[in-house]
Symmetry: D2
């Protein structure tokens, strides 16, 4: 049992020899690849913060055997765990923009529930395999990528209907030792600098899709596994104060007949549960997204409050800046509130772990999916055009032009022009650059599209209770308008109405 | 100690002889006044529900001495109490539209904190008086109106600047037994059918406003107290299935030199605390408003889900109705989430009671203040024009026209036309009638205007923490871009940066 | 040829003996029925304004024969006519809330186009009948109701699929003289105080719905025609300064085997054109709705600007009121702009009359359908709670309470309390009463539901042009990245790319 | 008189020897500088389109002397000119994202009006100078940058209050030949590849700011004028299909004691008119912005419609994509409608040219300033995560990985994967890259901040008319409720009420 620190995580990557390509180049050492550095830094922060005394309560979890693990590698066992996990994602993302590693936490929570459920119903033994894998992950303090979204092909067709059968990951062979899988998962967050992948189905399935009802874990360097990755953040870009330090890679993860031993297989053919596993993951993960984006919100609130001051228009003194700031707070703390509510209203699963409330998770993720654009809008309204027009660093570095810029882009007296420009560039990086674009799209589509959230929120809502209340209310009113004067008011029972007690309510 | 039921509450009103006028008529018996019946019914529900076993956990509170009281009359002593109070307001308002009595709860919570605070600072003895009054309220299971909003006069001037000194309630005489007060409080919810009033200042004060820094309690029939009230709901209106049963009166409460004994005075001249008392009340009350309007939301979700089905367009089958329903849920459960968050993040006061988190209370109240209009919009989009155009009851009652209406306004087969029309009228009552107008305005301005919420949310937000995080982050980045390679990363301490440890994060 | 004035219109109603019922009572004289008075007043205004010199240019139209008619009874023959018609609806509704009579104008415009189109395609003679009817309407300066929305029954089924064949109006007999029709039209605006009805199909039809593809005109008192009407506005309500004077009735119009002579039949069986006629009407009418609701907006902008001043918080001095006012203007003038654009971009029909641009008409109507709720929200934020809590008139009339109210509800010095209360009541009437509810629902569903607008806007949009531009652009970029250096840039032709001229654009 | 084509414009830049720096490098030939190429291309398009027969009507204007000029260099002399100018900006920006040159058009329109106004009031001769300059611009078919925004310094202080007097451009010397100016203008669009600059004041002034009330024209290479510029678009970026071809530079333009001859001075000391000139420019320019952003909207509508098809989810078949598309159309055509309305309602100036309606210009610019973020949100919702996660071009170019990508990122059958990826990259370029960030910020702050628009819209609105209508209406109602039965209804005159005619309206 160990809690690695950031440096140990980076070193640990050297033990793997994955097949990775980025911008057309084969990567020889992930730990040393500059194009992945911002992503590796972000993961490293999740290890470092677990050593930070101030944050240990939310960054680590004590197992029932007394061992302490990084909370990102632990299941949630009560409402408090859910809240701490939410705070943890906010903290991590306040530092890194997107800490990425919480996807693993969410996959583990979903697998715990659904492997247990399948075992209960089908007399399988997946939960044991899962438990063994959980121990492995915790003992080695691993970071696992979560591979959910398949290549998908024609979006109007199910897996088995695709003309190319490999567009969803599927099992092509089963033997005594294990299974062989083929296909590709797309848009996999942090793919190149993971230790392993946890693979989950991306949607509900029919019996004909049986071969696609598949979940397993696999090391990043398993034979046949290939990753075509994108750079993380804006590495080595001087105009990217934030995303040259912290960013995210995504990768296309291709399974070219990869062998998976049975003890790493968590679902194989139980098509009735594919959708449940996808949805269980979604509930955990949308909850994490809420914390994550609140962390982005923290950075934007802090930086725009400073920018307003540097411009000489502090929110406390300027009405329209104050109004804008109130909207920023309302949005960020507003969707964060749904994360708290999802925690508090979370439900215990058959595996005894806890899952966030699905209505709240979904509406919260839906809010941020749409409101991240409002956050950018408000950040720009508060900060001004300099976010985009601040001169390039090379001009600042030359003495003559540097001096002119210092003179003419000065604003609030006492604030160095350089600080104002740095803040502008920081805000540009977060909201008006390729990285800003990434944040908007990951908020909009990460963890499912807005429409997926709408459908889940409606699908999981308890309409029956709401409708019954109205029906009994109208029945009661109708009665009272007639002869009934002494009924047991509906207040006392939402579904029945009888005539036995004086109460003084609703009589005509 | 007793828990009255609805009927007992109604009877208890007979013990008071208040000076009340409604629509130009002197009211001789409040308990029997038809124009107040819907309001009295709503209060009665708050008594009835406390006897309902299913709801006792949230409707009642156990005092430290073991006595059980209606939770509306109790202080909150932990986060759980705050959550139950939130649920209680939702339940009450799901039944009654607006249960009114929670204003008392909120006033008691604010008085506990501020009387203690003033006593601590000024060596006064207000907390004792408050404690005595709290006992009185609990022992007799009273319903007290909360009188906050003064007449105000010219809104650009402070109390002492008004040309008419009576536009804010003020003390005009102090003697050994007590004080004499004069002025008027406007828009007082439920005024005519209260047992007593708790009077609080409506704003912050300066030293010159000292006479207006005033808080006290007074029975509804104290000599000199006069109420000019409005009818509650839409009494005796056949087209008002809901608000002929449940509604709210508001009243102009005039203090024409009313005597208040010292043991009922909770602030008198401590002008520095007037704003604090007003704000403490606001924090409690905005939290209640969140639960209250979620209860209205419950009624609208239930009734529009039914209306869609009656029209033959159930949300589960019709895409644009499903979308509308997802927005309704997002709004109602979205602002309700802020109520949960405000509970969970609530703070302990000097009096040991708990107050909801002010940022969450304020943004939640702001959300509902603006979104109640969206709720109405969506309810109308889902329900259709029949909400407004359903024929009058008199036409339904005549056999010939009744039959024609039954034939031609039928929609979904199997649903009686009468049920469809009743549902339309119910939705009209809540969203497109004088009562609907009341709900929108009470949501918008009750508990303070939207602008008050915006200012409070910004004013109570911890910007320093957010700004410091950014400053330290940028400092750290700057350093790393220079010489530092082995620094103690900012991750380990948000405000300092030194050079003592290898860590692998953020190095160039 | 004549232009009646208001009084003459009222008198003209005495010539008809319709079968009308309101609130269970048979109406003996429409002209004298107090429950219809506000609706009759509103129509009368459309006659009066045509005599007002200041407004004659927009209220009247000169026919090609030199005769002058009320513009509401005229076709539009150019873009200017469309703009004047838009202004006319704004003017009328600024006076009356909803002038109702423009529905006739819109039906006439649609019939001109579609009868001509059917004649062209089918060698029918409907256009002649239409022309004859138009002359009749213009000569007698009539007001005709427009009956579009059928009873509809189960909304998931087409007309011929309904279990009750009468749920859509259909022809049950044809003979030499004419046809006999049966069924009901619902929610018919202004039904009881019309001279005649113009009946249009409500949707597209299939061949099996042939009997329902029907359009005709009929006097309000034709044998077999029965109207079950609702009161117009809030007649005789002292708290309704506006809607006791101006309002709208709606009626269920039942055709109990009504005979229609051939010269009043405009479609009978041409099912392929039913949808076209419905849509043509919609294009005209949604354009009118834009003007109409801008007129409501005018009243709300004017009254809230005054209310803010009476409260002592004029928008020119108070930042958050100014912000609210800017939103009000943005909404009202924003959707009005789409009406202007729809006029300017309007299209000439086969009948040589003009129809507003359908994309603009639809998005404008969609805007107001949703934004009327925002208008109410902003009106309330600006005006304050007094909109709802102003004391009843009866209390103001009693000397003692009147004096107290005058003292305590005074605000801005110099403004009589009575003016402030009247303004509050006026705003309540428009935005927070049954009439306010009517305005919101008529905005939301009148002229079609929001979803109908969304579908029409998308359905009528020229996507091909937009897509082709992108395809050619990307093709051009691709080419330039390769070998092409001297191409005729796409700028010169959006769809082709060749290599003939030096131009300096887009070369690498 | 000539109409240059694109190539001639590029060549014409070689006649100037400006002092320009970009990314720390001195630019030796603007025409050949790769970092400016996308900006130069965009300007070139404005010349090319004037030669395109299809567009000549809107791209060129005929002067009263019969000469034809590029419309961008012409004044508007009627409503039709305003509409064509609006269409022209839409067309140009549909091609280039931002054609930049319309700023000149807007400056010329403003100068015409205000120089005439000052001459009329002050007996100056600025209009003659302006007319001479206009001839010069038209004869040589120039592109002039418009320099409005000063460096500004402390935003809470006026020009003369700044500790550094140079933070606003001011006159430091006047002599017989002309004036000498010092200071800097910031964020100047297209600065490095302009022929000349037109300098306007950025705000209203007081008498003490007299030296800052300054307007003049100056060639880009005048001695003492220095530009520190940013690259235009994303030059030479393989992942930028659009902005490697078309983009915008901005520059800091420094006036280091630059001499301006009197015939190029348009204001010098007339401080009362500084604000008027700034506002006149804003009215013209906000109108142009509406057309410009509609052009961006065109590109996004076209590309997302294609993307949806390539994904296999065409809007015509998928409800939530259709809904998203309806919102996109509503936004783009909605704010474009305000541009049409501003044209149609435009006003003639003292110089006989036309200026767009200020209320409509301001609300339209405000709409797009806020809604560009919604456009991006909807574009992302429709397009999916691939906008951000499409593999890098280098991976596509390698045969092995290219093949894998082609297999796994295929979607709709028949659509080449490459087309899908190109479309994703095009959409990323416009909405989720540094260029996308530029478009959002230029929309938000270009032509003035959202708050400036709000204040202008409210400031220019005719509240008096709206208020008078309400006052007369309420007066009329009041009268009618009393004795008046036969009054001349308010309908006949909005401000008076007398008793002379029977009319039947509004009587009780």
């Amino acid at each position: 049992m160990k809690l690695m620190n950031g440096q140990e995580y980076v070193e640990s990557l050297r033990q793997y020899k994955p097949d990775i390509q980025v911008k057309g180049k084969k990567v020889t050492s992930v730990a040393d690849e500059p194009l992945f550095k911002p992503g590796i830094n972000a993961i490293a922060v999740t290890y470092e913060l677990a050593h930070n005394k101030k944050h240990q309560d939310i960054m680590t979890a004590k197992l029932s055997n007394g061992n302490v693990v990084n909370r990102l590698n632990a299941l949630d066992f009560n409402h408090e765990d859910l809240r701490k996990k939410l705070e943890m994602t906010r903290l991590i993302c306040k530092w890194t923009g997107c800490g990425q590693r919480y996807l693993m936490h969410d996959a583990l929570g979903a697998l715990a529930e659904i492997t247990k459920m399948v075992d209960n119903d089908k007399k399988t033994e997946y939960f044991n395999s899962f438990q063994g894998y959980l121990d492995h992950v915790q003992i080695h303090d691993l970071t696992c990528g979560t591979a959910v979204t398949d290549a998908k092909g024609d979006r109007s067709k199910r897996p088995h209907q695709q003309s190319n059968p490999d567009l969803y990951v599927h099992v092509i062979e089963k033997n005594k030792e294990g299974i062989v899988v083929r296909g590709a998962k797309a848009n996999i967050t942090g793919a190149p600098y993971m230790h392993e992948f946890i693979v989950l189905p991306t949607r509900n399935m029919t019996e004909k899709d049986k071969a696609y009802a598949l979940s397993f874990a696999v090391p990043v360097d398993a034979p046949g596994l290939k990753i075509i990755a994108k750079p993380a953040g804006r590495p080595e870009d001087k105009e990217a104060p934030f995303s040259s330090n912290f960013g995210q890679s995504t990768g296309l993860v291709i399974f070219n007949d990869v062998f998976i031993p049975w003890n790493r297989v968590f679902m194989c053919g139980e098509w009735e549960y594919a959708g449940k596993l996808a949805e269980a993951f979604a509930n955990h993960h949308r909850h994490s997204c809420i914390g994550a984006r609140a962390g982005l919100g923290d950075m934007i609130i802090g930086s725009t409050a400073l920018m307003a001051e540097y411009n000489g228009l502090p929110h406390a003194e300027v009405a329209h800046i104050q109004r804008a700031m109130s909207e920023l707070i309302r949005i960020v703390e507003g969707f964060y509130a749904t994360g708290i509510a999802a925690s508090v209203l979370g439900r215990k699963t058959v595996a005894k772990n806890y899952v966030p409330d699905s209505v709240q998770s979904n509406i919260g993720k839906l809010m941020l999916a749409e409101q991240v654009y409002d956050i950018f809008r408000i950040a720009h309204e508060i900060s001004g055009g300099i976010v985009n027009t601040a001169p390039n660093p090379e001009d600042l570095e030359l003495p003559e032009s540097g001096e002119l810029i210092n003179e003419y882009l000065a604003a609030k007296e006492g604030v160095p022009t350089e600080d104002r420009i740095n803040m502008a560039r920081f805000i540009e990086d977060l909201t008006a650059s390729k990285e800003g674009g990434f944040y908007s799209i990951i908020s909009n589509h990460g963890g499912g599209s807005p429409e997926a959230m709408r459908k889940s929120a409606v699908g999981n809502y308890d309409f029956e209770n709401q409708k019954n209340h109205i029906i009994s209310k109208l029945k009661c009113f109708a009665k009272l308008e007639g002869t009934c004067k002494n009924c047991e008011t509906c207040v006392n029972d939402e579904h029945e109405c009888s005539d036995t007690r004086e109460h003084g309510i609703l009589e005509k």
